[in-house]
């Protein structure tokens, strides 16, 4: 939009010098005399000159903008990640364009194209629930666009990625339930396409195996959407079994909440009858009744790390076109936040 902004030419005209001299004076170029610099800077201040970023972007073939694709903004975890991204990006002088795939592959495809067309300098991506084919991403990667994945990553790319240690987190959660004396621990499994789903399932299994508890497939119930409703339904199925589970480890917090609803409606007590652990530590989990034990994922930190990695990649590339940075994988630690929903034995430690 044209705001009648002052340009370098306005300053040049006013001082009777050329635009190039003004440009150099503003950047403290040694070719320019101190007097000229002084005059230029004073007038620039007076007129409140602000360089036109669009012109700069065109000239330098660099927009100082990074694009972000996330599944859904309204998820506490993702909005926390965004805050982390913005934190790092803004202090490094980058703008952030956020797009939501709404868990739709179709939307993800158009998002990534739109970001590419906007000539963002790089992208931060967490793929949608539906994404099992990655051609649209390979396409853009092939053009040399720096890309860093976070949380829900593209496994087979050799891009950098920031993940949390889902396996350990899930294992720790399950071990905690075992330690509380639970014998029949069910698992609400998440969207099958996502690596995080597999990791959490694997962590669950490993914990059981370590304690020689047989893995009962009927105790693993699918929640491909990971919603409250699904968690509730899945739990109702579990409650209808002859041998009910005495604990549930859910792939995420909404599913865990659905579980809690189903259990309460069945007239059972949490954690006495059935203990529950969720995943993500959504901020309201502490406010549920009973407060929900959950595996905390450091969202803000994940955003920060992802942005840092991407920006480093961008800057290396713009300096030296040939050097390719080795892809890095950064694994962030999870932390089990124990609350009442899983404490059969009462507080420990």
């Amino acid at each position: 939009m044209k705001y009648n902004q002052v340009t370098i030419k306005d300053i040049a005209r006013e001082l009777g010098i050329s635009p190039s001299t003004v440009s150099r004076a503003l950047k403290d170029h040694p070719d320019i005399s101190p007097e000229t610099k002084k005059a230029v800077n004073e007038l620039a201040d007076k007129l409140n000159y602000q360089p036109n970023i669009v012109a700069l972007s065109l000239r330098q073939s660099k927009t100082n903008t990074i694009g972000v694709i996330i599944p859904e903004l309204v998820h506490f975890f993702f909005s926390t990640v965004i805050s982390g991204i913005e934190d790092v990006a803004y202090s490094a002088g980058y703008n952030v364009i956020i797009t939501q795939s709404n868990e739709s592959l179709q939307r993800e495809k158009t998002d990534i194209k739109a970001l590419f067309n906007s000539r963002v300098d790089g992208m931060l991506i967490s793929v949608s629930r539906e994404t099992s084919n990655f051609d649209h991403i390979d396409n853009i990667l092939a053009k040399g666009v720096p890309m860093v994945f976070f949380d829900r990553v593209y496994e087979n790319s050799n891009s950098s990625r920031i993940i949390v240690d889902d396996l350990s987190g899930a294992k720790e959660a399950t071990l905690h339930l075992i330690e509380q004396g639970c014998k029949r621990i069910a698992h609400l499994e998440g969207p099958p396409n996502l690596e995080i789903t597999k990791q959490r399932l694997e962590g669950y299994k490993q914990a059981l195996q370590e304690h020689n508890i047989p893995i009962d497939p009927s105790l693993i119930v699918a929640c491909p959407l990971g919603t409250i409703e699904e968690g509730k339904k899945a739990t109702e199925i579990l409650l209808a079994m002859d041998e009910k589970p005495d604990a549930i480890f859910a792939t995420n917090d909404p599913a865990a909440m659905g579980s809690m609803q189903a259990i309460k409606e069945a007239g059972l007590k949490i954690p006495q009858d059935i203990a529950i652990v969720g995943f993500s530590n959504w901020f309201f989990t502490a406010l549920l009744d009973p407060p929900l034990t959950s595996v905390d994922q450091p969202g803000f930190e994940m955003g920060q790390e992802a942005a840092k990695l991407l920006i480093r990649q961008i800057e290396v590339k713009s300096k030296n076109h040939d050097v390719e940075l080795q892809p890095e994988t950064k694994v962030l630690k999870t932390r089990l936040i124990v609350r009442d929903s899983s404490l059969k034995k009462g507080k420990k430690k």
Copy 2:
């Protein structure tokens, strides 16, 4: 970032024609022969030509980007608004840059400057809790940047705005409590700078007056941050009174939740001893124990309306530089969602 993208010149060179002809051919200009158009379009398809948006922005002095400033992304309400904004913006061909003030005036100032420097075509703003001086906004408004405020608006500007009917919503909530037989209804008041705080307080007062209930200043407790902790503390003060309130209408949901915690810890029952109503209908309010009655604000719709208004303003302005659109104020209806936390008399209707 330079992606070795094909440009109009590449196509021109390949076909042995001039860039201007390619440009016109791509836009179906009548001066160009059908054969040339066909050749150009085919080659453009083959090379997967995508126009450089940055160059277009510079040429047209229009970035097709709108900037958004919100207090905090992690608030359910605001992230819902963002989704509404993106919904409208993307289908109108606009990108969205989101910045968070984190409820800080200082940050709001730098955000607005950064957006201005990025030459966004317009801005959507919801001011921070701290904003009582609006010079930084007037500054930008004076340069002719289209601006629409939402939820937390700048009262004295003659910009368009989208608000919810906070007064009616608050009044309805209070009337509901009165109808439930409550006599001593307390109010947890929000950040004093915000107009929405005043409106909600006013709605509360009007409801009491209509039923000839005297307004007791000691029942109005300040929660200038509107956090859970504040709501809890404020409620503890109320519970320490000789004559305890029998209901609390909180300025927002976190404060209401703090209230619930304090009441439970005091061994009192909700709603039997004290009924509670919140404001905003955060999505997890339904999951609390008891589920919280709250005033629903249509966030998604608010985002849509704000974006629509802004884009209309931008497009009118870019077509006709002189015409100024009359500022509009759009008031969205709230809806009281009655849940157990306020039902002293049991379900009605």
